[in-house]
């Protein structure tokens, strides 16, 4: 199967976020072929280069929407009229009540608005395809005037109505950048038209090429969101004028809604993302939660030897920053010490940024004040029951060792996304006590204790209860490890995506008809598991392609060899 992997500021770039996940996916599904279509996020990212790509990535095409671009394409009169019409529609859709606005009118009205946005978007895309590019037009006076008209029209959103000329210009420029994928030449039959399935690695800008590929070439779209882009958008620019935020939020909201509407399957990474997607109009029938996969191998040793842990040590592992609320943890530990005087706490992690460093210094001060140094006897050098450590040294080579050294892993965050550290602790088979934030409950299930955030006493009570009950600790640890191995391994992640790929393809009408010798269409000629024959019949040819710098390997369409059913099922 040929999969078009769409990323934004992600995969092939070294500094890309979620790059690790994509890399594992691509390497894990080696029997499929991947075409990577990447939008870069900044110049730095481009200069940093790519990660080494496995041979199954047959082509990579990139675009840089951050670059100011002047294509110098001047639209003719008819094209300009079409552009003004579509852009006006788009602007009107953005200026009327926002999608999440309950004040907005009834269901039909909002469906009408969504249709209007979609029509305008695809109209602009068609225009861009006909004319070869739209970036000059999207920044032209025609666009700004259309925006102004929409903002001043009756029924426009309150904050959109406040927009003045500079804001209109900024919005036009930002929309131009967001719509840059429209001007790309990715939607031809030799590019995204040739893939069987588009897999967008995130929502928002990365999904836009997928939407257009679906519109132009009927390629099914799969959207994976580990973090909701719409939500990230709300958090990034809190200080911009309200009119800019309102219009851009409307754009991103409508784009997300349209993406969810058109996608064949949406895979949120956790319940939180799922709730946002449902809120933005995703159909529940399309949602499949696929938990992020993590590499369990480094933690296997610790997980299989629960006896090597020091029964009186607690460990906290993570990046040190205020949101982790280490102060609460220290206060809780003070109470734990009152109940269990021999308890020790290891705080393992590096501060993130200057704020984190200041917070670390603060926590060290607090720890020194709360807990005096202790020595075993009058002639020994004392040490503090709370130690701040970093991994990588000879004493603590990796995080797995940190988890392994302790009987109990504590998480005290007040804000948390998906708690990767907690899952690592689960892999290590350690009992955990965590605060009820973010996706903690979802990850831990019933295999650890959960307390309210900012409640040191509750945290302390839970810790003491587990410290005093080694049997319960062991039971919880074993259950946690079993749960993590079932839900959060790389393998489950890859298997889930493999299954979803096949599911989507099995529901997609065949776009390419295979003819038999008589010239009759051959039913089931191109099954979901179809491969290019060169792949395994002639490995040498494959290597030649692999070594070459060019990515253009246009594979023949009709001549495909179906794999045997057993092989397909065994994967």
């Amino acid at each position: 199967m040929r999969i078009g992997l769409l990323t934004e500021g992600g995969y092939p770039y070294v500094s890309g976020e979620a790059g690790l996940w994509c890399d594992r996916l691509v390497r894990g599904l080696a029997r499929h072929e991947f075409d990577v279509y990447a939008l870069s996020r900044c110049e730095q990212q481009e200069t940093d280069g790519w990660v080494p790509l496995p041979p199954q990535v047959s082509r990579v095409r990139t675009a840089s929407p951050w670059e100011p671009e002047d294509d110098g394409i001047v639209l003719g009169r008819r094209a300009r009229r079409r552009f003004a019409e579509y852009y006006g529609e788009l602007a009107t859709a953005l200026c009327t009540a926002a999608p999440g606005d309950p004040a907005g009118a009834s269901q039909e009205a909002s469906a009408l608005e969504a249709d209007r946005f979609a029509n305008a978007l695809y109209g602009l895309a068609e225009l861009a395809r006909d004319e070869g590019g739209l970036s000059a037009a999207l920044r032209s006076d025609t666009a700004v005037r259309a925006l102004e008209r929409a903002c001043r029209a009756p029924g426009a959103h309150r904050s959109a109505r406040q927009a003045r000329v500079p804001e209109l210009l900024t919005v036009a420029a930002r929309l131009e950048r967001a719509l840059r994928p429209l001007s790309l030449d990715w939607y031809e039959d030799d590019a995204l038209g040739a893939v069987d399935l588009c897999h967008a690695a995130s929502g928002g800008p990365a999904a836009l090429p997928g939407l257009l590929a679906r519109h132009f070439c009927d390629v099914p779209l799969l959207v994976t969101e580990y973090g909701v882009r719409l939500r990230a958008h709300y958090l990034t620019e809190p200080d911009a004028p309200p009119s800019i935020r309102s219009l851009l939020a409307a754009f991103h909201g409508r784009l997300a809604a349209e993406t969810y509407r058109r996608a064949a399957v949406i895979t949120p990474g956790n319940t939180h993302a799922r709730r946002w997607q449902e809120r933005c109009g995703a159909d529940r029938a399309k949602l499949r939660t696929v938990h992020p996969g993590m590499d369990a191998a480094p933690f296997a040793e610790a997980g299989e030897s629960p006896e090597c842990a020091d029964p009186r040590t607690l460990v906290w592992v993570g990046r040190i920053e205020p949101a982790k609320d280490l102060v609460s943890l220290l206060h809780a530990f003070a109470e734990i010490r009152r109940a269990e005087p021999g308890a020790r706490l290891r705080i393992v992690g590096t501060p993130s940024g200057p704020e984190g460093a200041a917070y670390l210094a603060h926590c060290r001060g607090l720890a020194a004040q709360l807990f005096p140094d202790e020595a075993d006897g009058p002639h020994d050098v004392g040490r503090n029951p709370v130690s701040f450590e970093e991994t990588g040294g000879p004493e603590l080579p990796s995080r797995a060792d940190a988890y392994a050294s302790a009987a109990l892993v504590v998480l005290s965050s007040v804000v948390e996304g998906f708690p990767a550290g907690l899952v690592e602790a689960m892999f290590c088979g350690r009992a955990t006590v965590s605060t009820d934030v973010g996706a903690v409950v979802e990850a831990i299930g019933g295999t650890g204790l959960v307390v309210p955030p900012r409640n040191p006493r509750a945290l302390a009570e839970a810790c003491v209860a587990l410290l005093r009950d080694p049997e319960r600790r062991e039971r919880l640890g074993a259950a946690a490890r079993a749960r993590a191995l079932e839900l959060f391994t790389v393998e489950q992640n890859i298997t889930a995506f493999h299954g979803i790929y096949l599911e989507i393809l099995s529901r997609t009408p065949a776009r390419r008809v295979v003819l038999d010798d008589m010239g009759e269409p051959l039913p089931f000629g191109a099954p979901a598991e179809a491969h290019v024959p060169g792949r395994w019949a002639d490995p040498a040819a494959r290597i030649a392609v692999r070594g070459g710098p060019g990515w253009a390997t246009d594979t023949p369409v009709a001549a495909t060899t179906p794999v045997s059913a057993t092989e397909g099922a065994s994967r």
């Binding site: 926002a98 406040q162 500079p166 809120r279 949101a323 007040v414 804000v415 309210p452």
Partner: protein, 487 residues
Amino acid sequence: MSGLGELDRPETPRSPGAWDERSRRSLTGRPLADRPSAVDAGAREPSAGEREPGRGERETGAVGRPVDAREREASAVGRPVDAGEREASAVGRPVDAGEREASAWASPGGRQASAPPGDRQASARTRRGAVDPVKALMHRHRDLCERAVDPLEIAAGLEAHGVTDRTAARFRHRDVFSLAEEMYARVSRDTEPAPRPAEPSPPGAGATWVVYALLPGVLCAAAVAGLRLTEGRPRLITAAVGALALALALRAALRRGPLSAPVRTSGTWTCWLIGYALLGDGLLRTALAGGPDALPDGTADGAWPVTAAPVLALALSCAPAAGCAHLFAVRARRRLTASRGLADFSASVRPLLLGAFALYTGVLIALLTITGAVLDEPAAHPQALTLGALLLLARLLTVHGHAHAATLVLTVTAAAEGAALATLFAGRLPGCGFLAVPVETLVAVCGPAGVPAVACGIGALTLLVHASRRLTRASAHAGTPSSEGLR
């Protein structure tokens, strides 16, 4: 895994609470027993000032939550009404307090008694009986609520502060979204929009571009002086070096400051036009007389006379041109922030453009007069003036992103001048005499200056019309804010 969802990772809480207050308290040595324990995140720090008057109320409403829950349950039937009701009850505090007192005594007695006495006192002091917990929450997040443009923004902001569905359940909401919707609906929006921040004064462009803009004039003056003071071979070398230096200085001046353009443009046609101003008139005159018989020798009275005065004036006018462009850009930007609509802006910028253009023209006339007098050459006003105007307008259009039209007009003008010369020479061929007639007629009427003056004049007029339409649009001045961050 570490890379996953980096962007979406919730923000650090900005509200004071996570680590400032408590830790400061413990660092200043207050005993730990005094610490508020088991405080629930929702009602942790609702504005102490607001609640101060109802001290008695707080004492009695010690257990707070059950009372509050019942109250909300009762009013939770019709939510829209509910909001108004709560608003009202928040205003009428005394009545409300009395009510609560009664109900507080009535209901949670058993639980109060069961709590250990020390604990109860501590929690009584800290746990304020929240009449309207959503209002307290709104007060805590008032910045967020006031600036939110839709409920989802409030939801995202609340989540970044650690509010989860479990927290929202305490406010009797199904999830954060519906809590955010209530908060969004309850924010009063009758206040005027915040005054927009004053436009930051344009960054001190510094003196560098002024220096660069003066460079062509200075170098050209030096080259002209060199030509006047030398003879023979050194004069040839001076001319070559001077031309090269002038070209480089011009390039430097156009790369920086207000005359720098976002796109690279070719200077061929500009050089051709300036070259014509230097040599063209002499060539035309000698060609009409049957020449040229010799190459130009760098003097104004040789076989192929050179007119240095207009070129010097144009080189010197680089600085005023940059000044005019700067003036235009800065003023236009100021109008941009001040104007409310696009039509307003266009109307206010048009006189600005014409003013800047007129200013430059005036300065150029003065420079032409001065250089003509100093170099003792006949003042070549019309052709130099139209050329200067043409070049300025072309540059302005290029700077503001309309390089296409500017290049086109420059090319056409240069081609017209070249064609005029070519027809003169072509007319010497047998049977082609008619080719030279138009130029000869023009020269007979206006003198040799007529050809460049007409060509550049038509070009400048075209560009002026074009500029008064294009440069008065807001999109021509948009480049700066959005692209500055990118470059």
